[in-house]
Amino acid sequence: MSFLDYFSHNKSQAASIAKERLQIIVAHERSKRDQPEYLEALQKDIMAVVRKYVDIDTDSIEVQLERNGDYAVLELNVMLPD
């Protein structure tokens, strides 16, 4: 077995999996961090209102604020059950 084979045969995937997972979670947490603090409260209130009419769970509502230069768009996604 050659010198280089030693490494390629033994190379673990652990670090690259760790890196990929980290990139995803860090990006997710950063985007939440940049959102105004009221957004979470707003999300809860909207959920309470929707729940008066339809039975949905917590992760069926997504509230996002996207900034585009001098205006911002509030995006509200509600996933309704069939």
Binding site: K11, Q23, E29
Partner: protein, 271 residues
């Protein structure tokens, strides 16, 4: 002008206290008047790592509460001429640190001619960690090449960028990444995140990479900051980091396995 530098991490046990002891000693050895403050209220560990635990009479909280003067509480290091330690209190009252109190102590140190003030933060993102970073001019984010530590480092970076005094004033804390407990053999095998991966994820300038090294345990057992162990890889890596802090350009070392280890492994394999 005094520079206030926080040693912070979010995650516990990654090497903040080890690094605070080593780097403050290194700055003092370089001729700079340096103070190192233990913000880990209730636990107090820096005194042990710096071998002054039996000389603690007054502590940080005593000074804040006006029960002692700063001069009475500061402990002069026995090894470095220019180094002083302000120990943490062992009170259980975690809120003993107030913004006003901390600011007063930092201002008094600056007025006393201290050039560097190193704040050894407790783990977590609670009150103590916040107090340690709030007044910082610069931050050394200590991380291990491991997922939860890197994620916590990113959280701490977020707090520095939004909640520190500099952030409140529309400025930015200068951030540095210190990667500790690095194991080049495991990185080469693909088992551990490489320094480049961590740098890429955190997008923070690298101050240094400290290898996982038996000398660190030996140093803390003896109460001699590892930077004094000039033979050790960790000691040398900390010296390099201090030089970089002082503006020197120094190449990073100990990023690849040393040859002895490599040959030993190859030998073991063919045997």
């Amino acid at each position: 002008m005094a520079k206030v530098i926080v040693m912070t991490s979010g995650k516990g046990g990654v090497g903040k206290t080890t690094s605070s002891a080593a780097i403050s000693s290194g700055l003092a050895l370089g001729g700079h008047k340096t103070a190192v403050i233990d913000f880990d209220i209730g636990l107090r560990n820096l005194d042990l790592v710096m071998n002054c635990e039996r000389r603690v009479v007054y502590d940080f909280v005593n000074v804040i509460n006006g029960e002692a003067t700063l001069r009475q509480a500061l402990i002069k290091d026995k090894r470095c001429e220019n180094l002083y330690i302000l120990p943490a209190s062992q009170t259980r009252d975690k809120d003993a640190l107030t913004k006003d109190g901390v600011e007063r102590v930092l201002k008094e140190l600056a007025a006393d001619g201290f050039e560097y003030i190193i704040c050894d933060s407790p783990a977590g993102i609670e009150h103590g960690a916040f107090m340690a970073l709030y007044f910082a001019d610069e931050a050394i984010v200590v991380a291990n090449p491991e997922v939860s530590s890197v994620r916590d480092s990113d959280r701490i970076l977020g707090i520095l960028q939004s909640k520190s005094r500099k952030a409140e004033q529309g400025e930015r804390v200068k951030e540095h990444l210190l990667l500790t407990r690095y194991n080049p053999e495991r990185v080469e095998k693909g088992e551990m995140l490489a320094v480049g991966d961590v740098e890429e994820i955190l997008a923070t300038k690298l101050l240094g990479v400290i290898p996982e090294c038996a000398s660190v345990l030996k140093a803390s057992n003896q109460g001699v900051p590892v930077i004094h162990d000039e033979e050790s890889r960790a000691g040398q890596a900390y010296s390099d980091a201090v030089k970089r802090m002082l503006g020197e350009e120094v190449d990073h070392r100990f990023l690849t396995p040393d040859h002895k280890g490599l040959f030993q492994r190859l030998f073991r394999r063919s045997a």
